[in-house]
């Protein structure tokens, strides 16, 4: 922590008034970002990430303790602590899952390895990602439930017992139970769970009929297997917070989930599978918040870190959440049944490697130097040219201030690697090579964003681009130009937006039950009782989180399709199902099908497939964060320096300003570099920018202005 946040004085006075402290923490490969809110006042801090994997919790603990010392509060003053984590996703990508036993129906132990028979395309030497649980730990039991939910083959209890005895003294840490058609009849799964509990008093157990009671044996088993193999890791991680509790921390701890809401630590330990997209999701929650408060309903968020650009379409102020999503590194044809914000990951980040192929064509990515060793200019041993190195050569990223207050940039190292690996092979000057790297990188981002928009039936040109993450603001304007987007909005703390998003998120849980019944002769009472059962589960979960039932917001949807189709449309329905309501849902489905797919078939049989309930709680402190800050605006001071940057094939002098010295309301024209502790923004010639009253930087094409 080398740079004093400019709002320290305000914050410290608020602290002295004994307002509660709210903390959001996001961990990345390079930095731990901490956002501390007292009332409407926000302080952002960055600390280096030192530990990795399960040890990564120490980064969080140290950051919290350091922040409390820096800002002068005690852990006892903290009333909200929320964090985003890459623990689960890293455990998946690095194959550090807990040793887990799967018990499944005879004939089906290979479904989680088959992944619906997927293989990569256009390759002779392709591989499939390894299964979460190796085959020798996937045991089959004789039993079968049929498509009507009736028992076809009774459970062979002796066989189950003999399997369990076999593993009695093994080092298995967790058990996953997933049987065919258990979403219709959980009896056999319940029996097995009871036997596992009798066998081991403290075994971790995940069972598909409670975790993901939806149709599709592959997806349900994948979800259950992944959850089971994440539980021991996640619980150890969460238990390590006890050290903070020993230092006075008393508030509950919440973890960000993939669905855009947070979950408390105890439930997160039971359902860690809901947290695999924890990291990227928090930023998008904040992006939606910033956009709504800025009066921009439609934005494309662009979160650029070291290895990737995570993009999302925010439509009418909402981040779309899908009922299922792919596990990173696994094919989308075999998703897990977990509600996930719709985020597209593009393989371009600050650490993406630029390379020239054997016929002299420049490519950027998909390989990345990540955060270790990182770009060459970090001087940590990186010896390949990256996107960040290109921005250093161009003068956009300067060397006078440390990145994130921590990393000293060494421009010569960037010049050297780009010269050797890009400029010389292409016969270009080093600066032209660097400009080329940025152009190819931003073009890739724009192309992917266009496809993402088209796949949702949206014209991206009607959207505003909202970049964040360490490398977002310096790539945003060229990416917007490629995409045909005319406005860019950069929030006040783009480098710590994910940590900020943690403070803004609702507490949220999603529940589902598949029945797949014909709408025409569905049993109203059965559907209503399924919804009520989910509501009861929601109340139990929320009580455990300390949220009164009366403050919960419940919303129901039904996944509907024409019989014979393999895909559904979600149709919202009222909180009490009646015959009339079923007719209305069916009619809405026909209309919605017409709207989405261009036709409807009112004569065809309609099927209600899956019932879904979302339960959310909107914390009251969020409203205060939406108010324009009370922080006193310091007088605007002029450019802190002037720097030569390379743009439009020539070197020009550009102003360099400090973001926190910019006053709202006055317009400035590019070229200008705007620096702040957590990011660097570049405004090319032909663009104008101003700071709005919520301290967002709004950048527009000057041409469009006229």
């Amino acid at each position: 922590m080398s740079e004093k946040p400019p709002t320290n004085n305000n914050l410290q006075s608020s602290i002295q008034e004994r307002e509660d402290i709210k903390i959001g923490i996001d961990t990345g490969g390079t930095f731990v970002d901490v956002v501390v809110a007292v009332g409407a006042d926000i302080t952002v801090m960055k600390f280096p990430s030192v530990y990795h994997g399960e040890e990564g919790a120490h980064n969080l603990h140290q950051a919290i303790v350091d922040a409390s010392r820096e800002l002068g509060f005690t852990l006892h003053d903290v009333d909200i602590l929320r964090f985003g984590t890459t623990l689960a996703v890293n455990a998946i990508l690095e194959r550090k899952l807990a040793k887990t036993l799967l018990l499944t129906t005879e004939g089906y132990r290979d479904s989680i390895e088959l992944l619906r028979q997927w293989a990569p395309q256009y390759t002779i030497t392709g591989e499939r990602p390894r299964p979460f649980i190796p085959r020798h730990l996937r045991e089959e039991v004789s039993e079968r439930i049929g498509a009507s939910g009736r028992v076809i083959v009774p459970l062979n209890v002796e066989q189950v017992q003999s399997i369990l005895s076999q593993y009695q003294n093994s080092d298995v840490e967790s058990v996953a139970i997933s049987l065919v058609f258990s979403f219709l009849n959980p009896a056999h799964e319940e029996q097995i769970e009871a036997m596992v509990r009798a066998n081991w008093s403290n075994m971790e157990i995940s069972r598909s009929s409670t975790l993901a009671p939806e149709m599709g044996e592959t997806e349900r088993t994948l979800t259950t297997a992944l959850n089971a193999s994440l539980i021991p890791i996640t619980k150890r991680y969460l238990r390590s917070f006890d050290s903070l509790k020993g230092q006075g921390l008393t508030c509950p701890i919440f973890v960000m989930q993939s669905n855009g809401g947070v979950i408390n630590e105890e439930l997160a330990g039971q359902r860690p599978v809901t947290t695999i997209m924890s990291g990227p999701t928090a930023g998008i929650v904040a992006a939606g918040f910033v956009a709504r408060n800025a009066g921009l309903p439609n934005v494309i968020s662009m979160d650029v870190g070291g290895t990737s650009c995570d993009a999302a379409l925010i439509v009418n102020g909402k981040v779309p959440v899908a009922p299922e999503g792919a596990v990173p590194g696994y094919p989308s044809v075999s998703p897990i049944k977990v509600a996930m914000s719709e985020i597209s990951s593009i393989a371009i980040g600050g650490g993406s490697i630029a390379w020239v192929d054997d016929v002299g064509v420049l490519h950027v990515g998909p390989e990345s130097q990540g955060s270790m060793p990182g770009p060459a200019c970090y001087g940590r041993g990186g010896n390949l040219p990256t996107v960040t190195d290109a921005n250093v050569v161009l003068g956009i990223i300067g060397s006078s201030r440390k990145l994130g207050g921590k990393i000293k940039v060494q421009p010569q190292l960037a010049w050297d690697v780009i010269s050797e690996h890009v400029a010389k092979p292409l016969g270009l000057s080093v600066e032209d090579a660097a400009a080329g790297i940025i152009r190819v990188a931003t073009n890739t981002i724009a192309n992917e964003m266009r496809l993402m928009s088209v796949s949702r039936g949206i014209d991206p040109r009607e959207f505003t681009l909202l970049p964040f993450g360490g490398a977002g603001p310096n790539l945003a304007v060229p990416a917007a130009a490629e995409l045909g987007v005319t406005e860019v909005i950069i929030p006040e703390y783009p480098g710590a937006l994910s940590a900020y998003g943690l403070l803004l998120a609702d507490v949220r849980h999603d529940y589902a039950r598949t029945r797949a019944v014909d709408a025409a002769n569905a049993n109203v009472d059965e559907l209503e009782s399924l919804f009520l059962a989910m509501g009861e589960q929601a109340r139990l979960d929320s009580n455990l989180e300390g949220i009164p039932s009366g403050e919960l917001h419940l919303s129901r949807t039904v996944d509907v399709r024409y019989k014979g189709q393999l895909y559904c449309l979600p149709i919202p329905c009222s909180n009490h199902i009646t015959e009339q309501e079923m007719v209305r849902v069916t009619e809405t489905f026909h209309q919605e099908h017409g709207r989405v797919y261009g036709y409807s078939a009112p004569g065809e049989a309609v099927q209600f497939v899956t019932l879904r309930l979302t339960c959310s709680f909107h914390p009251s402190h969020v409203q205060r964060l939406a108010e324009p800050s009370h922080k006193s605006m310091q007088d605007s001071v002029g450019p802190v320096e002037s720097r030569r940057i390379y743009i439009g094939m020539k070197w020009v002098n550009s102003k360099v300003m400090d973001r926190h010295n910019m006053r709202s309301g006055s317009e400035i024209a590019g070229p200008i570099v705007i620096e702040q502790m957590d990011a660097t923004t570049f405004i090319p010639p032909g663009y104008v920018a101003e700071v709005d009253r919520r301290k967002n930087l709004r950048i527009r094409s000057a041409m469009m202005d006229r």
Binding site: G107, Y108, R109, S111, L114, R116, Q117, W118, A119, P120, Q121, Y122, T123, I124, T125, G126, E127, R128, P134, R135, H136, G146, A147, I152, V180, F181, F183, M215, E217, E219, V333, S334, D357, D358, V359, G360, V361, L362, H363, P425, L426, D432, A435, G436, R439, N443, T444, N447, L451, V454, S455, G457, G564, Q565, L566, Y567, Y597, G598, Y599, A601
Partner: protein, 591 residues
């Protein structure tokens, strides 16, 4: 480094930007088509592709991300022939802006009748600049079998309505009279019309997006980039050719007789002839076309070739005609790989899948960077239908299955996967199947010891078992009992596939051949797909890898001992001393 023309080296950055811009247009066409399609099969499985051609016309970019590889070459070969055919017959009704030609004729560049192509010329200020094209597998186009895959068809006229190249779209509007005629021949007219409209929308999207590129970068920059994109792919292909050894490399694959082949053996022959920078793929010697519908058309064979070449050059190289430019291809007309009318072609993809394996086998010998054992080599599709006795309602189901894939120099093959031209076609969950039709899937599992042994093991074949709850008519194209996917560099072949009715016939198992058979309720059918070929000598396989395979039930203790020469203790641990003894005695035999 290979030197390219000045166009690319003058501004390599602009080239990369515009090349990926063009690629993006092809992907956007595919996405548009899938989003606006009517039939669920097209939307979820995406049996289609979209391509941009230059004015010549040569294919320049093709969707590879949102379109599966099954149509890798169907469009590439079709456009020049269709245009020529059309122009020679309708010189007075030349193509105008907004016009589109439609055809499904297997013998004028097509494959089988359901695959229907729509070609739209692309004009900039009155100059013909290229073509935007897409092809879609339609649900039904008539013929003697629903869906058009008819193992017992005797000629192409039993396979549904033929659409020779006709101007179906004028000024961006589908001719309503022709549409009526076509839909009047389909069992699913709404599907056909809806999917055809999606095809029109995709071409219009392609032309509109090309206009954006022209407006932004200028006409000549865009057309130049089309040429350099072809040149780039060509250069990548030439760079591979330059590493190949000179010589003649031959291979023959023999498919054993069945009802489709009129009781004859079918030979597929390939000679790869390399003389310095000249490469020839000569299929002379391949058997004449057969009476049944397994004949492949020219487009099917070009698909197999383009698929393998694209896999060789790598993911960053656009799929286009540049792959074929440096290569002479000889596909003798009137053979099973370039059929002439009037033979049926509805099961044409089987031969394409075999050709892919033949090509990979020969290239693996001479291009070790991308070498692998063989895979299942057939489409492996089947279907069944019947009537629910309680309700009298008919039901029908179609499916195809994956098998083991070939091992390569760095890792094992994939166990049970849809590979090569079938990659990207997901299996339907058993819970969906059982809720839709009266059948029970008892298992879907890897088959022990079915993968070809090797230093790297071939992928395992898959076993699926059905128990039928009603009587069904079961139609199948059989697995060739003699096809054991070969391994390479000492790797052993994978096991063959088969369809068995369990508990019926001699030895309590009746093996099915191509055709339709009645299976009674409560009878059980077992389908076993082939395993992949291994890579390298099995005795060089890492000991721990063998022990792991045994522990996970992928390889038996016996095979570990007899084939891999690895001895395990009764508890499954490696017996290193016994193994060394066994392996060293094997070495002695070898030397």
């Amino acid at each position: 480094m290979i030197t390219l023309s000045s166009r690319i080296s003058e501004d390599p950055i602009l080239f990369e930007v515009l090349k990926s811009g063009l690629q993006n247009v092809a992907e956007e066409m595919a996405l548009t088509l899938r989003k606006t399609a009517y039939s669920p099969n097209l939307r979820t499985r995406g049996d289609m592709t979209s391509v941009i051609f230059n004015a010549e016309p040569a294919s320049v970019v093709q969707a590879t991300r949102y379109a599966p590889p099954v149509h890798a070459g169907t469009v590439a070969s079709i456009v020049p022939r269709v245009l020529q055919w059309y122009e020679s017959r309708h010189p007075k009704d030349a193509l105008q802006p907004g016009d589109m030609l439609c055809t499904n004729d297997p013998f004028i560049g097509g494959t089988h009748r359901p695959d229907t192509t729509l070609i739209m010329p692309y004009y900039v200020s009155g100059h013909l600049t290229g073509y935007v094209v897409n092809v879609v597998h339609h649900t039904d186009i008539g013929g003697n079998t629903r869906g058009g895959l008819a193992p017992d068809a005797r000629d192409c006229f039993e396979e549904g309505l033929n659409i020779p190249p006709i101007k179906l779209v004028r000024n961006n509007e589908i001719d309503p009279q022709i549409l009526t005629l076509i839909c009047g021949n389909s069992r699913t007219p709404e599907d056909f019309a809806g999917d055809l409209r999606a095809q029109v929308a995709a071409n219009i999207t392609g032309a509109r997006r090309l206009n954006h590129l022209v407006e932004r970068y200028g006409f000549s920059t865009v057309t130049d980039t089309m040429e350099s994109t072809l040149e780039y792919t060509r250069a990548k292909m030439c760079s591979i050719i330059s590493t190949l050894p000179n010589g003649d490399f031959r291979k023959r694959m023999t498919l054993s007789p069945d009802s489709c082949s009129g009781g004859r053996e079918v030979d597929l022959c390939l000679s790869i002839i390399h003389r310095d920078d000249k490469l020839t793929l000569d299929f002379t010697g391949t058997s004449p076309q057969i009476s049944g519908p397994r004949n492949a058309t020219l487009a099917n064979s070009i698909t197999a070739i383009l698929y393998v070449l694209k896999a060789m050059v790598g993911p960053e190289v656009p799929l286009n005609r540049g792959l074929l430019d440096p290569i002479e291809v000889v596909l003798p007309p009137g053979t099973v790989i370039n059929a002439l009318p009037p033979v049926p072609t509805s099961l044409c993809w089987d031969i394409s899948a075999s050709l892919v394996e033949l090509l990979i086998q020969v290239f693996s010998e001479i291009y070790p960077e991308r070498s692998a054992g063989a895979s299942k080599g057939v489409v492996a599709n089947y279907g069944f239908n019947g009537v629910e006795s309680a309700t009298g309602k008919p039901f029908v189901w179609y499916e195809s299955m994956g098998g083991g894939t070939g091992a390569c120099s760095t890792h094992d093959g994939i166990d049970g996967a849809q590979i090569h031209i079938q990659a990207g076609s997901p299996d339907v969950p058993c819970e969906e199947v059982e809720m839709a039709v009266p059948v029970r899937q008892m298992r879907l599992q890897f088959i022990e010891d079915s993968g070809g042994a090797g230093e790297f093991r071939g992928g395992l074949g898959l076993a699926r078992e059905y128990e039928f709850l009603e009587d069904v008519a079961f139609s199948v194209t059989r697995f060739d009992p003699l096809w054991t996917p070969p391994g390479i560099r000492g790797g052993l072949p994978g096991a063959p596939g088969r369809h068995v009715i369990v508990g019926r016939g001699p030895g309590e198992q009746e093996i099915l051949t191509t055709g339709t058979v009645l299976i009674k309720a409560s009878e059980r059918l077992r389908i076993e797909t082939p395993g992949g070929g291994g890579y390298g000598d099995p005795v060089h396989r890492a000991l721990q890898a063998v022990a792991d395979d045994v522990r996970s039930g992928k390889v038996s203790v016996e095979a570990a001992r007899d084939v891999y020469k690895v001895v395990l203790t009764p508890s499954g641990e490696l017996d290193v001393a016994e193994t060394n003894k066994l392996r060293s005695s094997k070495e002695e035999v070898n030397t």
